[in-house]
């Protein structure tokens, strides 16, 4: 069976099937265990950040370099013709697309990555388009769940914090709904999961429930995915209240399952107390490191036909 992602684009998590996600995770595992420093030898990857980003850009570029590829690009739209001379995005990406073998793009406007993919003949990876999608973040989150639990089936997964505005939460819920897990949503009413996500879960018969505190369910969980409450979204008084209620404390972990792991897309503010960092349950820094392997897997699959389903090793 051929690699179904060869020469394709990664724009939205909704475009990926369960089989394709599993293939990416297996390749990520393989590349983590057995590095392939020459896999992208002589390949040039364009890293186009029309909006600044630290972790995403550095992990993408590290992923390319550790596979033996080369990176061209920019980390700030202010230095581009698009910004300085008023060139359209379409013209800019057509030119860059003629220089490189693949393209990853971050852009402040939603849909920019999909439009880019329609304008160039090389694979495009969405590294974040406004408030819309950031599919490789979801892939690395899934990989971290898979790595810590050895499965993506029948897990009890809690999402805590900002469930209304968090792009990473929405995409991860969308992806995990391809597997049979039980989902628990813990947030303030003002930051609750949007109805359209719940409707999609209902359609797929995914089990979920809403809770007001982490303690209600923490002892039955396999994964806690906690996010930062975004201060700019709330009134100051409300922010202070919510911030103090949805905090994960070490004292809450006394009766949890041994396999529980805590994930966070980072940056964290104070929603996870720092003394949890040294417990075996904390996995957020390993999760951040998994960004390299998840993005390596995506690059490897889009640019080489080496990996196929069931033949990832």
């Amino acid at each position: 069976m051929n690699n179904p992602l060869f020469k394709k684009n990664i724009i939205s998590i909704a475009d990926l099937s369960r089989n394709e996600l599993e293939l990416i995770l297996n390749v990520a595992k393989s590349l983590k265990e057995t590095p392939q420093p020459a896999l992208l030898k002589n390949k040039v990857i364009a890293s186009c950040f029309f909006e600044s980003s630290t972790r995403t850009r550095l992990s993408f570029e590290t992923a390319v370099l550790r596979l033996g590829g080369n990176v061209i690009g920019f980390d700030d739209a202010n230095n581009t013709s698009l910004f300085k001379k008023g060139e359209t995005l379409v013209d800019s990406v057509k030119v860059i697309g003629a220089y490189a073998d693949a393209f990853f793009i971050r852009h402040p406007q939603e849909g920019a990555a999909r439009l880019t993919a329609e304008c160039v003949d090389i694979p495009v990876i969405n590294a974040g388009d406004g408030t819309n999608q950031h599919p490789t973040q979801t892939v690395l989150d899934l990989f971290s769940i898979f790595e810590t639990q050895q499965t993506l089936e029948n897990l009890n997964i809690a999402f805590v914090g900002d469930l209304k505005y968090s792009r990473t939460v929405h995409s991860l819920v969308q992806a995990i709904s391809l597997f049979s897990c039980n989902l628990f949503f813990i947030s303030a009413n003002t930051l609750a999961m949007p109805d359209y996500i719940l409707e999609a879960l209902d359609k797929k018969n995914i089990s979920y429930s809403m809770h007001k505190s982490i303690e209600e369910i923490i002892d039955s969980l396999d994964i806690i995915y906690i996010t930062r409450v975004q201060k700019e979204r709330l009134h100051e008084t409300e922010y202070q209240h919510i911030k103090s209620v949805f905090v994960l404390k070490k004292s809450m972990l006394s009766n949890v399952r041994e396999n529980l792991r805590i994930l966070h897309p980072l940056p964290r503010i104070d929603e996870i107390e720092s003394d949890i960092d040294s417990t075996p349950y904390a996995y957020y820094f390993q999760q951040a490191k998994n960004a390299i392997y998840a993005r390596q897997a995506v690059l490897a699959l889009l640019l080489t036909n080496k990996f196929t389903k069931g033949d990832e090793e």
Binding site: S12, A14, T88, L89, V90, H107, P108, Q109, E110, G111, A112, R114, L115, D129, G130, T131, N132, Q133, Y196, E199
Partner: protein, 152 residues
């Protein structure tokens, strides 16, 4: 009798869009720019129906509604019927049907969508759950029809 004649007055050839939801007749005229043509147009608003409800109706002489236009009409009025008239006779009668997508017809209500900033044709996909929504191909956001300036 006079009232009835006004509603059913025959045209020699052209199209009759019947069973338009109330309040939609003027919007349809405006959206499809039927009023910019030189053909004779008759429009009826809030006409009584047999089941005691009301409807709008548009009759346009010498103009045949295309399939694309008929599908687009479904966004305004899902139960409308189109009658094609030739020699004062209905030669073809059909109900409008909601297509799976609309291309190049609507602009995205999301001001931060890339299609509002680049010269690209928009595409919206129809989503039918409890209410009808349109999902933008680019920003992937779904909108109720009332969000679209063109339809309001």
């Amino acid at each position: 009798m006079t009232h009835k004649n006004l509603q059913v007055e025959a045209i020699e050839q052209g199209s009759v869009i019947d069973h338009i939801s109330p309040q939609q007749g003027i919007k349809i005229l405006k959206f499809f720019q039927f009023n910019n043509k030189n053909e004779k147009i008759t429009i009826g608003l809030n006409l009584p129906t047999n089941n005691g409800e009301s409807k709008d109706l548009i009759k346009i002489e010498n103009l045949f509604i295309s399939n694309t236009q008929a599908n687009q009409l479904a966004l305004f009025t899902p139960n409308a019927t189109i009658n094609q008239i030739k020699n004062f006779k209905v030669v073809h009668k059909y109900k409008v049907k909601l297509p799976t997508s609309f291309i190049g017809m609507l602009s995205c209500p999301n001001s931060n969508c890339i299609c509002r900033h680049e010269n690209v044709k928009t595409t919206f996909y129809i989503q039918k759950n409890t209410t009808l929504k349109l999902k933008c191909h680019y920003c992937e956001k779904s909108f109720d029809r009332t969000f679209f300036n063109e339809l309001y």
